[in-house]
């Protein structure tokens, strides 16, 4: 009955329903989602750890196993974007606002409130804080994204199917991907994306407001936050209309340059040797403890800490994976599997490690070496934590202004790419989705962020995104299975057989 608009109509209706519930009955929605969230994290937390570790092993197998040389496109195809453009867009979509939001707040939070077996505000707590910040933002999130994006890129660019999550299920369920089963998978992906992006935009807008209040004579109130959302929405709608090549790519490139400049400035203005010591030590510790930490649920001591941090993050990355996965897939055409996995695992993770070493290291230096008690204030006001740290270093107002610019552009690129992905998912995987759908999703996600910020339902929406991660973790397991089966089929049945255009022989010229 709904035909080709089934995914769009159903997901729009259900998302609108949740947003209305967040406006009308925020407390009830909060109570329900809190209960469900606790149930899921308490009952299936171990599953998230196992799944994330399995995805990491799977990614490494993809890179260094027998399928590493397969190209995500036709055999003779060249990558669409340069390395720098590609890395910039990867980073902007995968981390972006979150990294700026948590770059200072997360290490300080672990330092202040580590698991029960570590003494708070000690040297051990500081070492633990940076190590776990690396761990939460390191290889695992990217491995989760890789499973999603590699599958989508393979099935769409190499096998000629629409760039949809449901396409990856063809080897497993065949033509049923064109029916209710396929729609259900795509609708679930739309939910996770809308819920995830709306909360991220809400939190990002709060941070921009906090920063603006530091440098301009304005109050950091709700009105300012809503104004920020409105301005940024206009900006990303313009970027979305300009298109992927000119819009997101240019903004992402510019943003990575600004981020690198900001990091370098903080490295020079801050305790340089201390930061580099933190970086070097924590990299070593990260690599040495990668496997035990990947599987450590801490059942005997500190389990609550693991639940509220590690398990929360793993669920959060999984819930973001449809959005990041689809976007990363759409910019990775023409790369080999090995190039894709190594690039997407190593480069963003390394940049993230350096970010945490610089900003986390500088803030811990204030606490441990200069005796400035900043952790409690920063953790109490997470959106302004970074600006508070700046205030103890030279050029604070310039650093704050540059960070605001960075945040705003990350906000625009995240929202822009999410709008693009949502429109693509609800248009049967069209690479150029209709403008009206992009506008609809753009307005909906910004309105959801703004309205829920007012009603207080933002956190409930975030928990909804995390709840969607549970079925999605299972969906991703099957995606990995489907991808392996497809690649094995190609290696066994089609190896060496290419058509005139250099593509696999099975794929007709279209």
């Amino acid at each position: 009955m709904l035909g080709k608009h089934a995914v769009f109509t159903i997901s729009l209706a259900v998302v609108a329903l949740f947003v209305v519930a967040g406006i009308v009955a925020p407390q009830q929605l909060d109570a329900i989602t809190t209960h469900l969230h606790e149930l899921v994290i308490a009952g299936f937390g171990w599953g998230y750890l196992l799944a994330a570790f399995a995805f990491l092993v799977f990614s490494l197998y993809m890179a260094f196993g027998p399928y590493g040389r397969l190209r995500l496109g036709q055999d003779a195809e060249k990558p669409q974007y340069s390395y720098f453009g590609w890395f910039s867009m990867l980073f902007a979509a995968g981390m972006g606002i979150g990294l700026i939001f948590w770059g200072v707040a997360e290490p300080l939070s672990h330092y202040l409130e580590p698991p029960v077996y570590i003494t708070p505000q000690s040297g051990e707590a500081a070492s633990f804080a940076v190590a776990y910040s690396f761990f939460h933002w390191g290889l695992h999130p990217w491995a989760i994204y890789i499973v999603m994006s590699l599958s989508i890129a393979y099935f769409s660019f190499r096998r000629g199917m629409p760039p949809l999550i449901s396409s990856c299920f063809y080897p497993l369920i065949g033509d049923r991907i064109y029916g209710p089963s396929g729609y259900a998978i795509d609708i679930l992906a739309v939910f996770a994306t809308v819920f995830g992006i709306a909360t991220s935009l809400g939190l990002g807008a709060m941070q921009i407001t906090g920063g603006l209040a530091e440098v301009l004579p304005i109050a950091a109130g709700l009105g300012t936050t809503l104004g920020v959302i409105a301005v940024v929405t206009v900006l990303y709608m313009i970027s979305s209309m300009v298109g992927l090549d000119k819009g997101i790519q240019v903004l992402s490139r510019g943003n990575v340059i600004v981020a690198l400049l900001l990091m370098t400035a903080m490295l020079i203005l801050g305790p340089t040797a201390y930061i580099l010591n933190v970086f070097t030590t924590t990299i070593g510790e990260y690599l040495a403890a990668l496997i035990p930490r990947s599987l450590d649920v801490n059942p005997f001591e500190g389990h609550e800490w693991t639940q509220s941090w590690t398990l929360f993050y793993w669920a959060w990355w999984i819930s973001w994976s449809p959005f990041v996965g689809l976007f990363v897939a759409s910019i990775s055409r023409g790369r080999t599997v090995r190039e894709f996995v190594v690039g997407a695992l190593a480069v963003p993770a390394l940049l993230t490690f350096f970010w945490f070493a610089v900003f986390g290291g500088a803030s811990l230096h204030l606490e441990l070496e200069r005796g400035i008690s900043i952790a409690e204030r920063a953790v109490a006001e997470v959106p302004t934590a970074l600006f508070q740290v700046y205030s103890y270093y030279p050029g604070a107002s310039i650093l704050t202004a540059v960070t605001l610019l960075l945040l705003s552009v990350f906000f625009v690129t995240s929202a822009d790419s999410a709008t693009y992905v949502l429109a693509m998912m609800s248009s049967q995987g069209q690479l150029m989705p209709p403008l009206w759908k992009r506008i609809t999703w753009g307005v909906l996600q910004s309105s959801a962020a703004a309205v829920l910020l007012v009603s207080g339902g933002l956190e409930a929406l975030q928990r909804m995104a995390i709840l969607a991660a549970l079925p999605f973790a299972i969906v991703m397991m099957f995606m990995a299975r489907g991808l392996l089966s497809a690649m094995r089929y190609e290696r066994v049945h089609e190896r060496g057989r290419v058509n005139a255009a250099g593509g696999p022989v099975s794929r007709p010229e279209r």
Binding site: Y170, P171, G174, H493, P504, R507
Partner: protein
């Protein structure tokens, strides 16, 4: 084709069941039956006398039969004796074991299938019609070299008449175009085999399904009520399959009908036979 057949017996089988099995082997063309008992406990003399008496019964019934007793592992000894006695087939009477029994002592059927270089017939008495009745046969093929070992048997007129189903189960291709191409190729291959098998005088039909062979073959054999399932055994299974057991081992154990398994390494023998 299967002139000399080795039949390992635990001696727990009833005399009637053994006689039914030998009659079924006769229908397959067996001329000499070698009964084997592998003992591991005391008093081998008593076991040997019992086996000799069973051989005598079969001889009285008109079969050319001799008895051999050895000690050691059943599967290894059966395969070694089959080589020594120049047998063309090992026929093993199947007995269902519980999950616990299988976990503790393993499955002799699976071990023989895994070790044998000659065809193995896993006889399931309740599902195999008496000799002389028309058999319905299903050959599950993956179009590998084992076809060359199996086709001469399917072309032969032993057992005569009946129906032959050529069956293929394979995993779905990665996309709809590759899938339609795969299905076309599978159908062409099945028709080619069907053409060859029509020489036997049997009614031949073909069927393709999507799925994992080790489950799809067993399911289809049951659904189509076939009497004998014929399958080839790949010698070089992948590492994971080696650990989990080959498709042929799983099918031999799980199918409800009798199963005839051809090893790829028996190819030379049967090509020569056919020639």
């Amino acid at each position: 084709m299967f002139e000399t057949v080795l039949v390992p017996l635990s001696l727990k089988e009833s005399a009637a069941a053994v006689e039914r099995m030998v009659a079924a082997l006769d229908a397959l063309g067996a001329r000499t039956v070698v009964l084997l008992h592998v003992h591991s406990g005391p008093r081998p003399g008593r076991r040997e006398r019992e086996l000799q008496s069973r051989a005598a019964v079969l001889r009285e019934a008109g079969y050319n039969c001799r008895a051999v007793v050895h000690s050691g592992s059943v599967a290894i000894t059966a395969v070694r004796t089959a080589n020594e006695e120049e047998c063309d087939l090992i026929a093993y009477p199947w007995r269902r074991k519980s999950w616990i029994q299988r976990s503790l002592v393993g499955s002799v059927t699976k071990d023989i299938v895994r070790l044998a270089n000659i065809p193995v017939f896993v006889y399931k008495s309740k599902r195999t019609p008496p000799a002389g009745e028309v058999l319905s046969i299903m050959y599950a093929t993956d179009f590998q070299d084992t076809d060359r070992a199996v086709i001469p048997y399917l072309k032969s007129r032993r057992p005569a008449g009946g129906e032959l189903m050529l069956f293929h189960a394979g995993e779905r291709a990665p996309d709809p175009w590759a899938e339609s191409r795969r299905l076309a190729l599978v159908e062409a291959d099945l028709q080619r085999l069907a053409e060859e098998c029509r020489e036997s005088g049997r009614t031949v039909r073909t069927l393709t399904v999507v799925g994992r062979p080790r489950t799809a073959v067993v399911r289809q054999a049951h659904r189509s009520q076939v009497d004998v399932l014929v399958i080839g055994k790949a010698d070089n299974e992948r590492a994971l399959s080696t650990m989990l057991g080959s498709t042929a081992e799983a099918v031999a154990y799980n199918a409800r009908c009798s199963v005839l398994i051809f090893a790829r390494s028996s190819l030379k023998e049967y090509t020569r036979d056919a020639g």
